[in-house]
Symmetry: C2
Subunit: 197 residues, 2 copies
DNA sequence: CAGGGAACTGACCGGTCAGTCAAGTTATAC
DNA sequence: GTATAACTTGACTGACCGGTCAGTTCCCTG
C-alpha cells in the first residue's frame, strides 16, 4: 500500500543524507545507527523501519553520495561547450580543498568497502563506468571536432585521466597545500594540452 | 633489563606480521585483538603486553607493511642500472595481481586511516616522502646520464608517476582483469618513454 | 638452589551498539 | 465515526570485544 509515497521517499532521502554526514564524520566502521537517527531527528527504530540493517543504510548512502557528485559535475559541464575546457573544468571541480574534501573522504571509504564486499564492488564499478563514459564522450567530441588528435586511444586516455585525478586527489587529501593543488592543476592541464591535434 | 632482547624483538615482529595478516583479512575496523593473538599463537594478554592498545598494534603493522614493501622494491631495483629500466620494473612490481593484491589492500586501509587521524597521517607522509625521494633519484640519474630530457621538472614527473601508479593500481584492485593490467603497463611505459631526451 | 623479576595466560569486567518489539500515534478508507 | 494499516518510538536484549589483573611459568643471577 503506497499511501504516503512522497513523504516516505523524503524520509528515506533524509536518512540517507544524514548517513552521508555520519560517514564523513566518523567513517563507515565507526558510524552508529543512533548517530544517523539523531541527525535525522528520528529514532533508531525508524531508521531500521526503512533500512533493515546498518549496512543497507551505509551502502545506499555511499551510492547516494556518488550519484549526487556525478550529477553535480555533469550539470557544471553543461555550461561549457569546448571539450578541452570541459576537461579542465572537471579537474577544477575535483581538486580537494575545504569544500570537496568531504567528497574525497567518501571515495576513500567507498574504495575500502568495495574492496572487501562483492556487492558494493559492483555498485562501485557501475559508478565508475558512468564516469568513464562521460570522459570518453568528451574526448570523442574533441576528436570529432578535430581539436584532439585522431590517433589517440580514447579508452587509454580516459583511464589515464581518471587515474591521474584519483591519484593526485588522494595525495592532496593526505598532504594538503596550495603547492600540491597547483601541481595537480598543472599536471592535468598539461595532459589535456597534449591531446591537441 | 635487556635480557631477552632478541626474542623480544622476534615476538614483536611476529605479532606485527600477524596483525598485518588480520588487516588484510578483516580490515582495520573489524580486526580483533583475539585474531592477532590466535595467529601469533599467543594470548590477548601478550599482545597487550607488547602493545598498549589495539590502535598501537594496527598502526605499527601498517608502517611495518609499508616499510617491508619499500625495502623489497628497493632491493629489486638494485639489480638494474638503466633508469628507464628501473622505472619500468617499479611499474611491474606494483601491477595488482593475485600476490600484490594484499599490498594494495593495506594501502587502502592506510589511506583511509591516515585521512582520519593526524598521527597516522604523519607516518603516511613520511613513507610517501621516501617513495618520492626514490623516484626523484631515478629521474635525476636519467637526466645526469643524458637519457632523460633536461628540461623536465623532476618533482612534477615524480608526482605524476606516483599518482598514475596509485590511480591505476586502485582501479585494477577494484575491477581486475588482464586487459586492465595490460593497460596500466602500457600507459606507464608510454610515460616513461616520454621522458627520453 | 633459592629468590626475583620478566614474560605470559585467559577469565572476567564494563562499555558499546545493532536490531527487536510492544505499545503508541497518525493517516486513510469507507 | 470507526476500523485498519502505516508509521514511529525508545527501552531493552544479547552479542561482542578491548583492556585488566591475579595468578602461573620461565629464566636468570648470585
Amino acid at each position: 500500500m503506497a499511501r504516503r509515497l512522497v513523504e516516505e521517499e523524503e524520509r528515506r532521502a533524509l536518512i540517507l543524507s544524514s548517513a552521508w554526514k555520519v560517514l564523513i564524520e566518523r567513517g563507515y566502521a565507526a558510524a552508529r545507527v543512533a548517530d544517523i537517527a539523531r541527525l535525522s531527528g528520528t529514532s533508531t527504530g525508524t531508521v531500521h523501519y526503512y533500512f533493515p540493517t546498518k549496512e543497507d543504510v551505509l551502502d545506499q548512502a555511499l551510492r547516494y553520495a556518488a550519484d549526487r557528485a556525478f550529477d553535480r559535475h555533469h550539470r557544471m559541464l553543461s555550461e561549457l561547450t569546448d571539450p578541452a575546457e570541459r576537461l579542465r573544468r572537471l579537474v577544477e571541480l575535483q581538486i580537494p580543498d575545504r569544500t570537496v574534501r568531504d567528497e574525497w573522504t567518501i571515495w576513500l571509504e567507498f574504495w575500502n568497502e568495495a574492496n572487501r564486499r562483492e556487492p558494493l564492488r559492483a555498485s562501485h564499478a557501475a559508478i565508475y563506468h558512468r564516469w568513464r563514459a562521460l570522459i570518453v564522450q568528451l574526448v570523442q567530441e574533441g576528436q570529432d571536432q578535430r581539436l584532439f588528435a585522431a590517433e589517440l586511444d580514447v579508452d587509454d586516455i580516459t583511464e589515464e585521466f581518471i587515474a591521474l585525478v584519483d591519484g593526485l586527489g588522494l595525495h592532496i587529501l593526505l598532504e594538503p597545500g596550495e603547492a600540491a593543488r597547483e601541481r595537480m592543476r598543472r599536471i592535468l592541464f598539461r595532459m589535456i594540452d597534449g591531446l591537441r591535434a
